[in-house]
Every structure is written in C-alpha cells, then in structure tokens.
Symmetry: C2
Subunit: 330 residues, 2 copies
DNA sequence: TATGGATTTGTAAACGTTTACAAAAGATGC
DNA sequence: GCATCTTTTGTAAACGTTTACAAATCCATA
C-alpha cells in the first residue's frame, strides 16, 4: 500500500511537499500541486491516520460513557454529540459501562493510552474518584449526571426543579397521595429529583411518607413494573405516581393495565425524559422533556474546547413539562 | 509525559527490554523485569497506543454501520458485537449512517485511512458497490442485511421463512384479509419478507391484493401509524396486519387504539424483531424473535477472523414466532 | 579453564506522518 | 547583471512503539 514516500517519488518532489498538498497549505505552486495530485490518484494513495495521529499526538476520538445502550434517553443526546463531533472531524466511540467499574476502566485506559482524546461521561454510576483523577490530566465533560465541586465541567438540567414541577402538576389536578419510583439514590439526579418531589409535597402541606418512595436497582421496564406492583399493594393506595424515568413509568403503566385499573382515572402517572416510546403508550405519558439533542451538542463542543486547552463553563439547560394522557382526560 | 525511552533510562535497560516486559515476553529475567516494572510505576508510564498501532499497522477498532441509533433492534446485536470485541481487545465505533451515502463515506474513509481495521455493516441502505469495492482490500462483514453473491460474508436469518410463518399464523387463526406494512423494497430483507408473505397467502389460496401492501420510507412509530391510517381506510378492510418491524407494528397498534378499535378482535397485528418495548404495549405484540445477541457475537468473531486473514463462512441463524396478545385472546 | 550452546540484552531500523530549518528558486529594483 | 527580498521546495528529525539481528552474558561440560 502506497505511502507518502511513494507519492513523493512518483511526483518527483519531497515528502514535505506532498504533506503540504495533503494539508491544503497554500505555499505550494499550482504546478507542483497538480503533479502531486496526479501521483496521489495514480497510486490510489490514502494517508494513514496512524502516522498522522502519532505525529500530532492526537487520536481524534471521543469517548461517550453510558450505562446502557438500550436506554433510549441517551440516543438523542448521542445524536447531538455525534453531529458536532463529526463536523469538527472527531469520531465517537460509544462505551457501554453496564455501571461496571471494570468496563469503565477499559475506557479510562483508552484515554491514558492516547487512543482517545477525551470523555463525555453520562454514567451516573461512574467512579467519581477515578474520573476526577483522570480529569487532572485529560479532557473530561459530564453530561446529565455530574459531580458537584469536582472541577469537571458539566451540562445538565435542574433536576430538582423538574421533579418539583412534575409533582406540582399532580397536586394541581387534585392528587394528594403521590408515590415516587426513584432509582438508586446514590446517584445525584435521583437525590435531586427526590428533593423536588418532597419540596412540592411540603409546599402543599402534604405529609411525606417514606413507604411511598420506591427504589429500583436499574432503569428498565421490568423494574418499573415491579415497583408498581408494590405500590398497588400499599395500604392507602396512591392515586398518582411520579417515576424518574420514562422506562420505569412505562413499566408501571403496564402493570396498572394488567390489573385492569384505569390510567389516569385510578392512577395518574408522570415519567421523565420524553423518550419516543412515551408517546406510543396507552394512554400517552405525561413526562418531563429535556433538550437532549442540544445537551449533546453542547457537551461535545465543551469537550473539544477542553481538548484544545480552552476554558469551558458548566451549563444548565431548560426543561419542560409535557402534559399528556396519563395525567389528563384522554 | 513519560515514554518508553524514559522508562528504559530509569530502569537502566534498553527500550527493547522494556517493550518485552510490556508485552509479557518471557525472555526477560525476573530481576530485570522487576527493575522495569519499578520504573514504570515510578514514572506513571502508560504505553501509547498511537505508537504501538503505527508500528503494528492496526488500530484495533471495528466499525459498526447502522442506519439509526434509535432503532432498538440494533442494540442487542451491538451488545453481542461489543462483548466479543472487548474480550479480544478490540473497540467498536458505532456509526450512524442515516442511510446517507455521505455519512457512509466518512466511515469507509476511516478504514482506508487505517483508523479502523474492519466493518460490520447492518445498514440495508448501504451503497452495495462501494461496500463491495472496499471489501476487496479490507475486512467487511454484513449482519442481518446482506448482498447475495458479493463475496462479503454475512450472518442473518431466513427472512422469507420468518415472514411466511408470521403470516401463516394469522391465517391459522382465521384471517384471510391480511395487509402488510413493508419498508422500502429496494432492501433485500423487505423483498424476502414480502415473498414470505405472498407464499403464505398462495399456499392457502388467498388472492394477493397489491393495495394490501403498504410501504414506508423509514422504520419508526410515525410511519407505522400513517400506514395503519391508510389501511383502516381501505375498502374491504383487512382484519390483520403483518408489519416488518416492531416499530412499525407499534405505531400501527397506536392508530388502531386511537380509532377505538380493538386488537386483536378487530385487527390482529404481528411485528418483527421482538424489541423490549413490544412486550410493553397494550396488548403485547406477537412478533418474530431473532437471536440478536448471538448474531452480534458471530458477526464480531467473523470480522476478527477476517482481519487476521482467516477464511470465514456465512451463517444463517434460527428465528422464532412469539405469540402474544396482539393475535391471541389477551 | 576453555568451549560451546542457550539465554538474555542491546542496537538500530521501521511504521507514516508533520514541520523547523536550510536551501534553492524566483521576483524586484537598480 | 547583480544584490536583495520573497516564495517555494527539500532535508532530516521527531512522534512512540516493536522486532530482526547482533552482542553479551550465563551455564554446563570436557
């Protein structure tokens, strides 16, 4: 396979000149440029990124850490990241961590190894210490989930406020027995949403009941369904449920349907994320919409700025409550 | 940042010896190995993949081409690919093509550039000529969608047979007016599933009606919903629908619900792929299950074999009809 | 204590680029 | 035609590894 030396020879110039043509430098005479381009075509030459990357000590690869590929919440964010990355000639490596520190380590290793130029972490279960340590020497951005005061820049929404609005909405339409399906509260977003939930209750003089707050080990339909099973067995059965993820909410909805109860008449449900599916359920799901695409774009440009050594500021984006069938007349 | 020369100096040995320690070669004396490891720790040395990759002329990156990240059909396959890849120390780069030749070209370029060692293509809309051309010099595998007689090895299921079984099931439970929601028939899988559909009809003496076959531009809820809208307006309204994707089927189901018709009593629906969400709908969706994880694992090991220069054979995997609520009593 | 063979270590080239610097060529003015 | 300045081109080092080959060391044996 042809390399830059072959091209140089064929064109009768030096490798430096070929390189200059390749990189579009304009200190090359029209005539020689032509000769070089001819040689390139003749030899079917394709410059090797390996050589270039080594020389420039960059890989032009960005890592995206997510816990599960299958959670559609991330797909829109990823699209945003990708769009920005590609337009700036970076490629993205999607890394599923399964919230497993060992998997995580493989990916951290890639940036230490220079195989990747930076990381956008969206994994709530990320090892915060390792990440902070890595961030001392490498470009890291957190997206959606973040670590306060870690010095790692992030882009996210105001989770407490979002949860507050969701629960407030339930209260507005008359509910007072409102359960919450939360995920593991070691995650910051889970803590924040829980706080929003409590804040809304308190503001309306509703006593907080700890048995009304369920926790799931993971985000997934099944977990939501299991949680709803428990909720429906509670004495003083709640009339509304706020789930911190659409996946959980959809699983919960399924269980309500299974038990021949009506949504929203018997139980109202609010989700979180506004994933595509949330509009396909019966009834459609009231949920919190995050600007996922935008979040991805911002995360990517923050990261690339970081890589270039520019200073970057954390960003908090707007969210929106989308009222649909699961809390309203259908 | 420390490199292999620094380590060599620190340990008082040559770079060759350090390299040997790094690569676990056993021609190194215990004593010197210890010295080297000490130096490595002391300097916090991390070998650079860039240097290694250039020297070995490999990148250890595999490309996965899919049309849309958001289609959950692919996520399970990707998991399978990833699992195999990681265990063999490869990384995967997920490439969303949007079925856009330009996007595709960016990724093809990556393998020509040596930035990736091979490709698993799952994009039905891939440019078959470009791909075949690329496959002359590089390792390529097709997964799910393939190009017959192109010489590119593939792993897939028998789409015709699967569709045949799906439609056969509808006929068995008494339907004779069966519509089909197909995607673009330029794709092989769409042609094959259409053939299976027709075969089942023919075998039971049901006349094929071309107005019963709808086509969608893309796979997505909305497209399925639109198609179902048209179906419900047909004179001689079908009593059953076979959709070539769960996404389409779920969109279709949504429309039936919207129009206050009952599934399966008024309209029975069969989907394809058995995505997670197909079990969350109301009613649950009868569908064809593909061994997606396995498919991914096989595709990955085929590709890695190809990269190593070993010969590989195409594979056709088993599928299964999963009967659920949308065609049965609930 | 040589001798020879086996084992361990070192030297230097190679992978394919980019780029600082030097050299050559071309343009300008007198 | 020559000196000077500007533009274009070439030379060679550098990025960080691996590895063929050569050199050095070790060990057993006569």
């Amino acid at each position: 396979m042809a390399n830059i030396h072959h091209v140089a020879k064929e064109a009768g110039v030096s490798v430096a000149t070929v390189s200059r043509v390749l990189n579009g430098q304009n200190s090359v005479t029209y005539k020689t440029r032509l000769k070089v381009e001819e040689a390139i075509n003749k030899l079917n030459y394709e410059p090797s990124m390996l050589g270039r990357n080594l020389r420039n000590s960059e890989s032009r690869i960005l890592l995206i850490l997510i816990p599960q590929i299958s959670n559609p919440f991330y797909t829109e964010i990823i699209k945003g990241i990708e769009q920005t990355a590609i337009s700036l000639h970076y490629n993205i490596l999607l890394c599923e961590t399964d919230s497993n520190p060992q998997r995580e380590d493989i990916y951290f290793e890639l940036v230490r190894n220079k195989m990747a130029d930076g990381i956008i972490s969206m994994d709530p279960a990320v090892n915060r210490e390792s990440l902070a340590k890595l961030a001392e020497k490498h470009a890291i951005i957190q997206c959606s989930e973040y670590t306060p005061n870690s010095g790692i820049p992030y882009v996210t929404i105001d989770n407490e406020e979002a949860a507050y609005r969701a629960v407030n909405h339930l209260i507005q339409i008359g509910h007072r027995n409102i359960a919450m399906i939360n995920s593991d509260e070691t995650y910051l977003y889970a803590q924040q949403r829980r706080q929003g939930y409590q804040k809304a209750l308190e503001e309306h003089g509703i006593t907080f009941r700890s048995d009304y707050v369920l926790h799931t080990a993971e985000l997934g339909f099944d977990y939501g369904q299991q949680a709803m099973k428990k909720i429906l067995k509670l004495k003083n059965r709640p009339t509304a449920v706020f789930a911190v993820s659409d996946l959980l909410a959809i699983g919960a909805l399924k269980e309500v349907n299974n038990q021949r109860l009506k949504v929203p008449q018997d139980i109202a449900i609010v989700g979180f994320d506004k994933i595509d599916f949330s509009n396909m359920t019966y009834p459609t799901l009231t949920t919190i919409s995050q600007p996922m695409y935008k979040m991805g774009k911002i995360a990517a440009s923050m990261l690339i700025n970081r890589i270039k050594g520019n200073p970057v500021e954390s960003v908090i984006l707007e969210h929106e409550l989308v009222i649909r069938g699961s809390t309203a007349g259908y």
